[in-house]
């Protein structure tokens, strides 16, 4: 059986409710959403969010994410030095988790999105099934990078106790939150159907 895409027949499935209707209607008859064959300006929007996220990634990692004032003076922690502290203390598992959530996942997510964008504009040749898997993973793990921002928020409110007299959020924290939010926006504006459009254009056999 030949598989045809809805777009080839001028049909659009609604972004919100999933109903398939002719794109000429302009609006979904069921939920009133605007109908598009593909998310409008998907690649341009994804690229812009992505580039903004990459720009924020540098201050997020280079500047201190929090300052801890104790009896021995004030120390500034970057994300990486926080990871190293856990490692030195012997909390290897925590160090690995924080490293994964705050450093590895954002980098991998941005690389994955770059790859997806390139593939969607026909610059690389990877099977769409693998790319689909990649897209799912990026969507799934993206939110978890927010964990360090919350950790600082929790520590700031919790610690005015004992030896630690003050914990203050550092300038990196806003950049870091921006990276997470921007990569989430980038993933949302990416339209995975573009990957299959490329695939179909090349006339490859599309059996599952």
């Amino acid at each position: 059986m030949e598989i045809r895409s809805a777009a080839e027949q001028g049909l659009a499935s609604c972004h919100l409710c999933g109903k398939v209707s002719p794109v000429d209607l302009g609006e979904c008859p069921r939920c009133g959403c605007k109908l598009h064959l593909r998310k409008p300006h998907s690649l341009e929007r994804t690229w812009s969010f992505l580039i903004a996220a990459i720009a924020f990634y540098f201050p997020a990692n280079l500047m201190p994410i929090m300052s801890v004032g104790g009896l021995g003076g004030t120390s500034h922690d970057t994300i990486m030095s926080g990871v190293l502290n856990f490692w030195k203390k012997g909390d290897l598992l925590v160090a690995i988790i924080i490293f994964a959530a705050s450093i590895l996942i954002p980098i991998l997510k941005m690389l994955a999105l770059v790859w997806l964008c390139l593939a969607a504009s026909g610059k690389t040749r990877t099977s769409p099934k693998n790319l689909a898997r990649l897209y799912h993973v990026t969507e799934l793990v993206g939110r978890w990078s927010m964990v360090d921002v919350f950790v600082v928020a929790i520590l700031v409110s919790l610690v005015q106790v004992g030896a630690l007299s003050s914990v203050l959020p550092g300038p990196a924290i806003v950049s870091f939150a921006a990276v997470v939010v921007l990569t989430m926006f980038a993933a949302m504006s990416f339209d995975p159907r573009l990957l299959w459009d490329q695939h179909a254009d090349r006339d490859l056999p599309d059996t599952p």
């Binding site: 895409s5 809805a6 027949q9 909390d91 769409p128 689909a132 106790v161 959020p169 939010v181």
Partner: protein, 219 residues
């Protein structure tokens, strides 16, 4: 392709065969009716097209009401209490946000409130508002807008990430003072489980089919 299983699947406004386009690869295909518990997969990319979840509306209402109760507990009771000599600190989400606001980072305070209070509330409250009356075939006014909001709020609800953040913060605090885990923390765990089950309980296409019918009936 069309299978009739009366009583087992939800009604649809059109009785003829329905076609769906995979939201992932856009392959257009027939959408058969499914038995409860079954899922239809895309014939090209294998993505789930839609599912017929067992007792979906009952589950969605039940879990989302439970989630609302847990949500009240999360915000009323402290999650952690730290005692160190004469000093005693308690943590609720709102206090964490307040401290961030005071100490020079209103943006992060606002983000925390949005990700851990507003988005989960819209998600769970919206789902309850839509599914509870749907059990009786009624759609409340604004149900379409509310459904849209709750679908949009889904990725922005980050309570489970916050919960994990508390655990990491505890490890970072290390030996500073006496730490007690409070009702708020357990409620937060309950809230995360209930929210996940509530969303997983109902399929998006099923919800819209039911909404369509309900609107048809009221108009």
């Amino acid at each position: 392709m069309k299978r009739h299983l009366p009583g087992l699947s939800w009604p649809r406004i059109e009785d003829g065969p329905i076609r769906v386009a995979c939201h992932f690869c856009d392959a257009l295909q027939d959408a058969p009716r499914l038995k409860e518990g079954d899922a239809a997969h895309c014939c090209r990319c294998g993505e789930v097209l839609y599912q017929n979840r067992p007792r979906s509306l009952a589950r969605a209402t039940g879990f989302s009401s439970a989630a609302l109760i847990f949500m009240a507990l999360v915000h009323l009771f402290p999650s952690i209490t730290v005692n160190a000599g004469s000093v005693r600190r308690e943590l609720t989400i709102l206090e964490a946000a307040q401290a961030m606001w005071r100490d020079g980072n209103p943006a992060i305070a606002a983000a925390t409130v949005f990700f851990t209070m507003v988005a989960p509330l819209v998600l769970v409250g919206g789902l309850l508002y839509v599914t509870a009356p749907l059990r009786f075939g009624i759609a409340f006014p604004g149900a379409k807008v509310v459904t849209r909001w709750y679908q949009l709020s889904e990725p922005w609800s980050m309570l489970e990430v916050f919960l994990f953040g508390i655990l990491v913060a505890l490890l970072k605090l290390g030996a500073v003072g006496d730490i007690h885990l409070g009702v708020g923390l357990w409620a937060m765990a309950g809230l995360v489980i209930c929210t996940t089950s509530a969303i997983a309980g109902i399929d998006r296409l099923e919800l819209w089919d039911r909404l369509e019918i309900a609107f048809k009936r009221t108009n």
